[in-house]
Symmetry: C2
Subunit: 355 residues, 2 copies
DNA sequence: ATGAAAGCGCTAACAG
DNA sequence: CTGTTAGCGCTTTCAT
């Protein structure tokens, strides 16, 4: 038996003895259909097992009922969390979510170009990716609505957090615990995609230290590539310093967890001898008891999607910028520094390692 | 200035002085177009900035150039890895990927029904989700191609690993290291979605123990709900036993990492006093030095997608089942057991804790 | 090689 | 309230 031909709306109309217009109305829940007629149509639909073609409906309406979401490095926990938030609200609103993964500038450009070509997605939410003015223009005159998450651009709705403030929060938490030698470990910003959160968090770190009247030891500020294992190596190096840090602020939970692992491998109990704080609060952070600066990951995606829906429904969103709150979540990886060191740090003694 | 009206293929035809048919041909790379004509068309396209409508093309062709991928618990690292693999090859082949997240049986059913309704996706890849016979039928006569990843069903192409064998691999690794008291920690299978890998891995654990002539201590086999923190609690409880295990095989890396964390919190050095092995080899495993049974996550998705593409292109895939290889990756979390215990275990001495 | 015309299946404007 | 009709923008025979 061959694949049965697709049942069309005209078939339903015929079966129910009405016009296609009426069928279309009941399909779209129009209130102006007599109850009896509606019932007849519904019955016909049921009988001949009719399933409307999303494709045809979209073309007819002139706009697809799907939105694209462009994300960098899909597998990163923080990115997935945002993605999940986006999908959840879009799905609830009846939109299909097309996900576009991007790992290089070239890929990003290709995706944006395709989306701007039009009639693929009614809107797009871009996560953590910086676009060029040309790309914004391209998207705009292609008529696709846009919302940014974790990046900003004037004139475009965006959801962000204050990374500088977050950096201060993390550092202050450590300072408040009594730490004097606090290191920073972060990546350098990825492959042409120009992420800036690490720099901002570092800025917050410096600012918090400055406000506390503590000097920033350049030797304790480490930024390296974003590959796997580099944060751990950096931590190990730091731990071998003549006067090692008593606490480390890692720019992301992923890196913080590497630090945790490195500390264990080096036999430095956490938080006994070393306190560690991360940033993001990915699921794994709770599982390993990592203290961190929590940012509403899933929510950022959900809010972004919600705003896009508003736009898609013809509404407008103001103000353009929405800033989500940050908070430090103290778990098992941070505590007061070892007593001796704490005193030494406070009294300013032992500027250099003893001979 | 209003949004400029969409440039259609007829506009290009007019501008180039040819028929729409010809334009369509150059658009689709048909060889039967004179070089000169093609150039003229291309130029016209460029000049009036024409962008073909994917929507219209799809409707005309009768099938959407997108495929849906249905995943359970999107945020789980192992799932994302597979997803990334799927997206990568689908994207390379020109398909849009619609991702559908599912966390309850009801959601799963709804998604499948929508996809079967048709004209949304030309094919679907289902990950780790068990479908009913009715659903398979529904999908089949809706004409959507289907490929399964990490689940199987007769008559449908699927990519799997041998979880029982994997369980044996993990357990044997521990046995080979000299461990006698090996515990198993796993979840009970999730909320009606009926995952079975944990049960299979447990079966492998029992089998390996049996083959080694070692008894299975029921007190060391722990299965609980899949919430966060339960694996850690279980590990803590195990560690407090009068005769605690010297090694733990966790059914997944996520749970293994919880165990690692619990061990550290309990002051039991790993692998000094406790060896831990997981399953999956998610990215985080390498970062924390977790020994594990590696399964090709990303590849499973990639292969599944590749097979779907073959199907979509009119090809056929045989055999239906593709089994991916498993291998244990020994890292820092496993080693020989503490000497005393190893001897005690082997000699059968010390059945109970000393008074 | 290329133009003309007939759909793809549905929505929406327009009469009744 | 409901039937009719004209597209939505492209692919694809079928002639030429």
């Amino acid at each position: 038996m061959a694949v049965s031909k697709r049942v069309r709306i005209t078939d339903v109309a015929a079966r129910a003895g009405v016009g296609v217009g009426t069928v279309s109305r009941v399909l779209n829940g129009s209130p102006q259909v007599r109850e009896g007629t509606r019932a007849r149509v519904l019955e016909a639909i049921e009988q001949i097992r009719y399933r409307p073609s999303r494709l045809a409906a979209d073309l007819s309406r002139g706009s697809p009922a799907s939105v694209a979401i462009v994300v960098p490095f899909l597998t990163r926990p923080s990115v997935v969390a945002r993605l999940a938030g986006v999908i959840e609200v879009l799905d609830a609103d009846g939109y299909d979510t097309i996900v576009c993964n991007v790992e290089t500038p070239a890929q990003r450009d290709r995706q944006i170009r395709m989306l701007a070509a039009g009639h693929r997605a009614a809107g797009v939410v871009v996560i953590s990716l910086r676009l060029s003015a040309a790309q914004f223009a391209e998207l705009a005159d292609a008529g696709v609505h846009l919302v940014l998450v974790d990046v900003q651009h004037r004139g475009v709705p965006h959801i962000v957090v204050d990374d500088v403030h977050g950096g201060m929060l993390a550092t202050s938490h450590l300072i408040g615990l009594g730490h004097g030698r606090i290191a920073f470990i972060g990546d350098t910003g990825d492959a042409g995609l120009g992420f800036s959160s690490t720099s901002d968090r570092l800025r917050g770190y410096r600012r918090a230290l400055a406000m506390a009247g503590a000097p920033v030891d350049p030797a304790l500020v480490c930024r390296g590539p974003s590959g796997a294992g580099v944060a751990a190596d950096t931590a190990l190096r730091l731990l071998r310093l003549p006067e090692p840090p008593t606490a480390i602020f890692a720019a992301s939970d992923a890196q913080a967890i590497e630090v945790l692992s490195a500390a264990e491998a080096a036999g430095r109990p956490v938080p006994g001898e070393l306190s560690v704080i991360g940033f993001d609060d990915i699921e794994m952070a709770a599982l390993v008891g990592l203290s961190t600066v929590r940012q509403p990951l899933r929510e950022s995606g959900a809010h972004g999607a919600a705003r896009l829906c508003t736009l898609l429904h013809g509404g407008s969103v103001r103000p353009l910028r929405e800033t989500l709150p940050l908070e430090v979540v103290a778990r098992r990886s941070t505590s007061a520094p070892p007593r001796a060191v704490a005193i030494a740090a406070v009294s300013g003694v032992r500027k250099r390692a003893p001979p």
